[in-house]
Amino acid sequence: MSSELSRGEETSPVQSSDSNDVAAGFSLRNERETITVAVAGNPNSGKSTLINAIAGTRLYVGNWPGVTVEKKSAVFEHEGRKIKLVDLPGTYSLSPYTQEEIIARDYLVREKPDVIINVVDATNIERNLYLTVQLLELGIPLVIALNIYDEAEQKGYKINTMAMEEMLGVKVVPTVATKKSGLNELLKVVTKVVDNPSRYTPKHLNYGEDIESAAVSVQGHIMKQNPSLNNKYPLRWLAFKLMEGDSHVMEEASLKIDDAFVEKATIHLKKAHGDDIESIMADERYALASGLTREVVKRPEVRKMEITEKIDRVVLNRFLGIPVFLAAMWIVFKFTFDLSQPFGDWIDGATAGPISRLAAKAITAVNGPLWVASLTTEGVIAGVGFVLAFVPVIFAMMFFITFLEGSGYMARAAFVMDRAMHSMGLHGKSFIPMLLGFGCNVPGIYATRTLENPRDKALTALLLPLMSCGARLPVYVVFIGAFFSAHAGTVLWSMYVMGIALAVLMGVIFKRTLFRGESPMFIMELPPYRMPSLKSLMIHTWEKGKHFLIKAGTYIFAVSILVWFLLNLPWGVENKKDSYLGKAGQVIAPALAPIGFGNWEAASSLVTGLIAKEIVVGSMAEIYAVQQEDEETTTVSDDLKEIGSSFLTAVRDSFRNVFATLGIASISAEEDEGASGLKTVIQKTFTPLTAYAFMAFVLLYMPCVVVAIAMKHEFGSWKWFGVAFAYQMGLAWVVAMIIYQGGRILGIG
């Protein structure tokens, strides 16, 4: 997502009583185009939420550390001035060890924003101030947004913000980003600081005689050797970095300084405190943060047991942890399926029946040629309609994933699964991209950025396509509907479990072959549980699902037309088997024979699925030329009525299914007659065994084109995609073969 331009809801003009400020504001309005405000802070402190609340954007938010991995910006207007808010990845420090830290600090140092809004988590002031102390070293004007203030109050913390302002020399504004409170005040303070930066320069915090004097002499030396650096970097900060031996900064600044000098300047410091200057600095910064916290925060004497602790007693319990995890996953899939399927069937029925008929009537009415009618109904409506039928299922899935992210369970899943991930050479954190992969593999691939080392990233990205994404659901839904409707939830669940199990297996294999060496560290904060608001759930579900709609509207639309042409060319071809697509299918079919579906129809639709897996069902619909069996003549109003009444049936069935899932009443939805033509055709050409093998093949056979592009983007070369393509094709074939041949030996099918 790039920047969005919109006006914040909370930014009504504020009358300033300070005449100086108003005057300055007027003159600056013309001088300066945009005020640039960097938003920095610890992971999960609510930076993205804050920006969304102020600027009305829809940046990605979740209750786990490491959601934002790239800087994003949002521009909006406030009192006639343009303000650009830059969302930085959350960091605990400005050290050069993780990619996010480097992104954040490079931005701050190079782009020199006008102000930093430092988002501080009020429930965890000490660790957050450790970063604040480092931000102050940069000498950029800073305002603290004391966020998550509601939870701090709930815990009974008393925070003396006046004292905090006094000691740090910066403005402190309590905020609750989720409830949009304190934001007006925050903006007011920010503009004040921008208009009068000299009045709000942050204090130099004193790091103690030894550090300070060493820094002064290093600064003097830098000035003598490289005077030009003074304009490029905050000098005091640069001196600290040199003392800490930060090679990233030294390289970047192309500092021409002999080590001997830094050595000399720090001799006294080392004598007094030990050799490791990084540790000395960290200790000193934390000492400042702790001291400040002691002064300004009063915590209640008796701490009551919090809800998070209570939930974790069960969720992270030694014996219950894993069953709870598996049950949570099962419930997600079961609900996704049961809730959305009636709506999917409704869209499917409506497009195949009344909508196709309406379109055909419209084309006949304007004397359109027959082939146009065929292209429209059999090509576009059949293809796109079939894909659209899965919108409900995709959105339901995204809804649950958003809920898991927002509630804080994601991080727990990583904790519970770490050991298992470790055995395949990964760590629990890789589990988060993998879980996201269940929604769509593409954001999963991008989320691998939160992993610290390249080896992890590559291995995670390689295994990620085995997580069954939303685009594969349509295929399962059709085949499960046709063959396994009595055990729909369980069969669906088995596909996901198969993907995970194979990921473990491949992980172990990769660990022994391509990825030998140390497996990485795992250090992660566990956030408190939070109840995501319905509104934010809706927004972020929509943001995730929207890509699917766009895909359906753009290139699935295009591919449907292409497939129609491939099926109808050479022009006038009688039998679809002789069309271009049919011929391609025939060439491939023999290779699929040993795995149970060596017919040209299946082969051709699998070919089209290389572009996106949901296309498989769309193409099948076109290939089998699914038609409503009842070609009765209907009137336009009949068609419209049918769409409406079947929608009501869908709503009813969805409710029923939910209750059935909960075990309140077990009503098995009776088979609707001719609900889907495709299901009927499939029942004729597949057996339950080959259907299951086919589903497994679709699960595994290769990541889609968009994943390929994402992998190229993340790794800068096609190498890892190449590896993924090769192993997945092999794996898909072998697994489907085992299912089919194994099943036959056991006498199934």
């Binding site: 960290a282 904790f415 519970v416 050991r419 629990g428 795992f522 250090i523 904060e525």
Partner: protein, 75 residues
Amino acid sequence: MNLAMLKPGEIGQITQIGAIGPIKRRLMDMGVLVGEKVKVEKIAPLGDPIEVTIKNYNLSLRKKEAEGILVEAVK
């Protein structure tokens, strides 16, 4: 004695951080410092990692890293 040896519910005071390089810096940035008190809260179902509270928040780390953090048991 190291952090990995503490049982859930036990508290230790950090005496030394043995790890070096990025891991040490990372731990320090998150508040794992000499003199700090840590309480072991939980051990994951599969035996690793562990969850501790330090500086008033929850942190999870693996036993391997915890072994590098030397502690003195606190009653």
